[in-house]
């Protein structure tokens, strides 16, 4: 069975990667298994300066999901390059560096530093984080701003640029087409769905940030629908994500139109989920007599 998946900037040995923000910079998971098994690693978001993030509570559990409002806590791009990326180099896994910021200049500077480091394969523009006050989400909900940001980052980046799309929009297809036109090399979708939970005993929101991003199995049908819709309008590579917990989920994303997938929240409930799914995917293909993972495509779904 051929699992090899070649995406712009990311020559992956299989289509599985941990999703940004759910894997830190890999240090914790490296103690549990060999990271070189992974197809790629989507790194925790980098910003120009270090960020503490939001106050706690930062997570709240919901039916079949969780809300988070971490607030892009990270040590800043300089430290990330010097300490985290140089350490990750030993695993020889193509890295997808997630970039966030408050202004277009922030994004440009951070993306350029990461691209110039020579240590990452591609940039993932985080224009959809629902948990920071400025920037982020505004770029992710206005197609014109998203396009402008994409083309500006493309100009300064020597490596491919993926745009991570927000589901918190009326038409995700409009956003996808806008960034494609602006030169995006790929899409990753979906980021978390904005949500809120209120403690009925106190009448107060559970999260210190009041609202947060919903992830986990609860959002999977939203992700599948959105990828399916976008795939009908573009041939851009899509990294699909949203509640993946099993091999069957991965296959569903491939059918919807994803070329590769990212596993997020499931890393929290089972830190071994990524290698388990990679193994499971090989087993699944054997049973179904699938010779190449790329034979599992959307065509059957689309043409019905």
């Amino acid at each position: 069975m051929i699992l090899e998946t070649k995406l712009p900037g990311l020559p992956m040995k299989n289509p599985i990667m941990p999703a940004s923000g759910c894997f830190g910079f890999g240090e914790e998971f490296a103690k549990l298994y060999d990271l070189s098994q992974l197809g790629s690693i989507a790194l925790k978001a980098a910003t120009a300066e270090p960020r503490y993030g939001n106050e706690t509570p930062r997570v709240a559990e919901t039916p079949a999901g969780m809300l988070n409002a971490i607030g892009l806590q990270n040590p800043g791009v300089k430290d990330i390059i010097e300490k985290k990326l140089t350490w990750l180099e030993q695993y020889q896994v193509p890295l997808l560096a997630n970039v966030a910021g408050s202004t277009m200049e922030d994004y440009e500077n951070t993306a350029k530093q990461l691209a110039d480091s020579g240590l990452v394969g591609a940039i993932e523009l985080n224009i959809s984080c629902p948990n920071v006050k400025e920037g982020g989400i505004a770029f992710g909900t206005d197609p014109d701003l998203a396009a402008e940001l994409t083309s500006r980052v493309k100009k300064v980046s020597s490596i491919p640029v993926y745009v991570k799309l927000s589901p918190n929009v009326t038409s995700i297809v409009d956003l996808a087409l806008a960034v494609e036109k602006a030169g995006a090399d790929g899409l990753s979708m979906i980021n978390t769905v904005t949500g809120m939970q209120i403690n009925v005993n106190t009448g107060k929101p559970l999260l210190a940030n009041k609202v947060g991003g919903l992830s986990g199995p609860a959002v999977k049908p939203i992700a599948i629908r959105m990828i399916y819709e976008v795939r009908q309008q573009t041939d851009l590579p899509i990294i699909g994500m949203g509640g993946i917990h099993s091999v069957e989920d991965v296959v569903e994303f491939l059918y919807a139109g994803a070329n590769a997938v990212a596993i997020g929240t499931a890393n929290f409930t089972n830190p071994f989920i990524c290698p388990e799914i990679i193994q499971g995917l090989e087993q699944w293909a054997k049973e179904k007599k699938v010779a190449n993972i790329h034979d599992v495509t959307r065509s059957e779904v689309v043409e019905q």
């Binding site: 923000g21 759910c22 894997f23 830190g24 240090e27 914790e28 998971f29 103690k31 549990l32 270090p50 960020r51 503490y52 993030g53 706690t56 509570p57 930062r58 997570v59 709240a60 559990e61 919901t62 039916p63 079949a64 999901g65 969780m66 988070n68 971490i70 806590q73 986990g216 199995p217 917990h245 929240t265 890393n267 929290f268 409930t269 089972n270 830190p271 071994f272």
Partner: protein, 259 residues
């Protein structure tokens, strides 16, 4: 740290909403300090989704068994409380850094100050201290008499002061109240309980040696998700932090900001 299906040897209520569970598996062999914790999957279904961090009360490497004490409050811990002898439970552990007692001298007096469901890890700590021949005094606070537990066990460690907020058992008031009122002195103070209790102890005994253990909502439990971070003291930038799950849950006094 390993992930395994541990077998449940007993799971019984020992006080109001409080359960004691004995588990068997390979994790006990890995435990190296009292105060470490387990991250438990409460069900094989997707709800409740997240694991529950539960501190290890006591550990027996030889038997491959450990004991946890938890409060059945929310949906997750209710699932755990419904598990039967012989069932298995998906456990990640041992996690975190526990109480380091290498710097406790044989001649020291140690006070274990516990509040509510913060009491259990102090029992395992007390056992280790007693093994070293150290004089242990326990000051245990609860909301009310029906919430108290482990009377006999703590009595075996040394002198015990009970206190309840409503005065239904032992002294009326908080752990700090009783320590002040009874002039309980110590060389080292180890505490686990709600943040207001820890804060009040730290304010009352600003030079205390020893450590405190924090409880916090957690995501992954291994340091990757940044759900359980806390600020540190003496940090004008406000950007420094500790992760409760992987840097803690046990910290020296005055290291982390209690709020």
């Amino acid at each position: 740290m390993i992930k395994e299906e541990m077998r449940i040897r007993s799971n019984l209520p020992i006080a109001q909403h409080i359960f004691e569970m004995k588990l068997e598996g390979n994790i006990p062999e890995e435990v190296n300090q009292p105060g470490q914790f387990l991250h438990m999957k409460t069900t094989n279904q997707v709800t409740p989704l997240l694991r529950r961090p539960i501190s290890i009360c006591s550990n027996d490497k030889d038997k491959g068994q450990l004991t946890v004490i938890y409060r059945s409050g929310g949906q997750g811990t209710k699932c755990i409380s419904e598990k039967k002898i012989g069932d298995t439970i998906d456990v990640l552990g041992p996690l975190g850094n526990g109480f380091n007692i290498e710097n406790v001298n044989r001649t020291d007096t140690v006070v274990l100050a516990g509040g509510g469901i913060g009491v259990p890890p102090l029992y395992g700590l007390g056992l280790e201290l007693k093994k070293k021949g150290i004089h242990v005094v326990s000051v245990l606070g609860f909301s009310t008499a029906s919430a108290t537990f482990y009377h006999d066990k703590f009595a075996e460690l040394g002198e015990v002061f009970y206190c309840t907020m409503d005065g239904t058992e032992g002294h009326k008031g908080t752990v700090t109240d009783v320590m002040r009122r009874e002039n309980i002195s110590f060389d080292q103070l180890f505490a686990c309980g709600p943040v207001p209790m820890l804060k009040s102890l730290e304010d009352t005994f600003p030079d205390a040696k020893g450590a405190l253990s924090l409880e916090e909502r957690m995501g992954c439990g291994i340091g990757a998700c940044f759900a359980c971070v806390c600020h540190v003291q003496d940090d004008p930038t406000g950007k420094d932090y500790r992760k409760v799950c992987s840097n803690g849950p046990v910290f020296p006094w005055r290291e982390v900001a209690l709020r």
